[in-house]
């Protein structure tokens, strides 16, 4: 089978998953205790006005009917109205998505760039100081609550040392946001040649990104170390060494390429964690992404906004898993043959 058709088949497999996600988010909104109509009607509602609102929201119809309406709205990209801001949920999420993506992707980049060399070195020099360091980072990483790491970093780097700017959003007040191109402020600032703005956005980004990266570092480093150890102990590696290949080639081409598969799988899992941890980090750093939007919505019980957030995060995660699987097919020739 060709590479393209495998990737296409994998995309088709995602459809039932997406359907399951939509059903769950629908059930979360409709089938659980509490009467949204009474909630929307407010404190001074009469039974008549509640009935009227219920009819208007379509809540007087059967669940299958309501589900059909929900699907129809979704297909038009309509996630409902936020009751606290009165804006369409989809538009607000889209507006805030770049901030969250900028944070998550920067953090993942930092964490991959640190964890993989650390894991590889720890495996190559087993039981050396770097292996001990790797073990320490992994143990600390799984025990540290993200929000706590963030606060510690703020205290040390902002309050004590003054190296980092105040943890108040994406850009300090002195700078005007650059014209919107990608939504990533650092890139947009560079594109608009506003160096000071880009630098300020970069400084604001660093602390939350490091916090999130520390959180995702542990599983990645542990998996890299384990996968490398396994690859190093394998027979094909002994053969490669016996054949007289250079040490660098044995390590990077033969060992690392084979170790990459479990690392990529872990990367997908880590992304799931970091989408959740993102919410916490955004709260700590007052980062105006979709996580803090969801928290604001949770505080005032704004159901449509929370459900829209859950749904879009889940869809984002499915898309990412698709990307990971695609990467897998590109990296591992065996997947192509088996598929």
């Amino acid at each position: 089978m060709g590479q393209l058709s495998i990737i296409l088949a994998r995309c088709l497999q995602a459809i039932p998953t997406v359907f399951g996600i939509v059903v769950v988010t629908f059930l979360l909104t409709r089938a659980l205790p509490g009467d949204p109509a009474a909630y929307f009607a407010g404190a001074s509602a009469t039974p008549e006005s509640i009935t009227e609102i219920r009819a208007k929201l379509g809540l007087d119809q059967g669940l299958p009917r309501q589900f059909a309406t929900y699907l129809k709205d979704l297909s038009r990209g309509d996630l409902g109205q936020s009751i606290s801001t009165g804006q369409p949920v989809a538009a607000e999420l889209l507006k805030r998505l770049p901030a969250s993506l900028e944070l998550t992707l920067t953090a993942l980049f930092l964490s991959v760039m640190t964890a993989i060399p650390l894991g590889v070195l720890a495996a190559v020099h087993q039981d050396s100081w770097i292996d001990q360091l790797c073990r320490f980072v992994v143990t600390a990483g799984v025990s540290l609550p993200t929000f706590f790491t963030g606060l510690l970093l703020i205290y040390v780097l902002y309050f004590l040392l003054g190296l980092a700017p105040a943890p108040l959003g994406r850009l300090d007040l002195l700078h005007v946001p650059p014209p919107h191109v990608t939504g990533f402020l650092v890139f947009d600032g560079l594109l608009a040649r506003e160096w000071a703005t880009a630098w300020s956005a970069f400084k604001q980004l660093m602390l939350p990104a490091i916090t999130l990266a520390l959180f995702t570092l542990a599983p990645l480093a542990r998996m890299t170390r384990a996968a490398m150890l396994q690859a190093l102990a394998s027979e094909y590696l002994r053969t490669a060494r016996a054949a007289g290949l250079s040490r660098g080639r044995v390590l990077m081409v033969y060992a690392f390429r084979n170790a990459m598969l479990p690392i990529i799988t872990t990367l997908g899992m880590v992304f799931s964690f970091s989408l959740g941890a993102n919410v916490l980090v955004e709260k700590v750093f007052a980062w105006p992404g979709i996580g803090s939007y969801a928290i604001e919505a949770l505080v005032v019980s704004d159901y449509a906004a929370v459900q829209g957030f859950v749904l879009s995060m889940a869809i984002l995660f499915v898309l990412l898993n698709l990307a990971v699987d695609t990467l897998y097919t590109l990296v591992d020739p065996r997947v192509r043959i088996d598929g």
């Binding site: 039932p16 998953t17 399951g20 996600i21 059903v23 769950v24 988010t25 979360l28 909104t29 659980l32 205790p33 509490g34 143990t139 799984v142 025990s143 540290l144 609550p145 993200t146 929000f147 706590f148 606060l151 510690l152 703020i154 205290y155 902002y158 309050f159 105040a166 943890p167 799931s272 964690f273 989408l275 959740g276 941890a277 919410v279 916490l280 709260k283 700590v284 969801a294 928290i295 919505a297 949770l298 505080v299 019980s301 159901y303 929370v306 459900q307 957030f309 859950v310 995060m313 889940a314 995660f317 499915v318």
Partner: protein
Amino acid sequence: MADTSFMPTLAIAVPRRSAFARGFAHFRYVMTSNPVTFFAFVLFALMTLIALFGPALVPHDPLATLADKALKPPGAGHWFGTDHLGRDVFSRVIVATRLDLLISVSAVAISFVCGATLGAFAGYWGGWFDRLSGRLLDTIMAFPLFVLAMGIVAAAGNTIQNIVIATAIINLPFYARVARAEVSIRRNAGYVQAARLSGNSEIRILLLKILPNTLPPMMVQLSLNMGWAILNAAGLSFIGLGVRPPTAEWGIMVAEGANYIVSGEWWLALFPGAALMLAVFIFNLLGDGLRDLVDPQRRT
């Protein structure tokens, strides 16, 4: 474990001791062979004692506010300082232990029991039930789990009980998957067929012959999971779900202290955060020890 039934000579050769004595000997062996595990067990015992008796021992009322003593740094009278309302941080951290442990232990217990049952039935009988439960678990796993927990709490209502349920639901797939895999590989094992031929009912075989053998890998899963469950529950209360002020709970205390970090009052957030970290750390260490205890073959 099951192998002994096929080696009667060996079973006779070993001097007979009660199951309890053998268990205790093994426990003592694991404890003395690994000081880290011993240390973790001591810390765990201490934490349990604090959870049980802490509220009776604390020097101050965790809810008593003293406006004239607000935001005092750690000192002789208040070991961990006081918060913005003049409450004693030390007393609050100690008292919170019970609630935090209660939330995470009950959440993990629920997902362990439900997940093991679901997975065992799916793995033993297969068929439509297996497919249905598999789909359900896949759907749960398709969500970023913390985000799903937020959604569940938002929909079901903002209470501690729902925090427990949400944490249990997001942990469920891990247990169910391990149980399913472990049961399905033993479904037609020799000792199971022997039990079937000697007239045991299917449910009896599953509960008494297969499930006990799946416990060691389930324990490993439990050990990997416990710390994560505490972090999740504390994360939920950090963003303002479940536990309401003025209740003392580590997550919400860190959240309250977060506002004072930028002005340098570090003790408000540091101590509850450190307590949380220590609890997770103890559970992670303990998990490794527990694995050694129930599964000697995997000991490293």
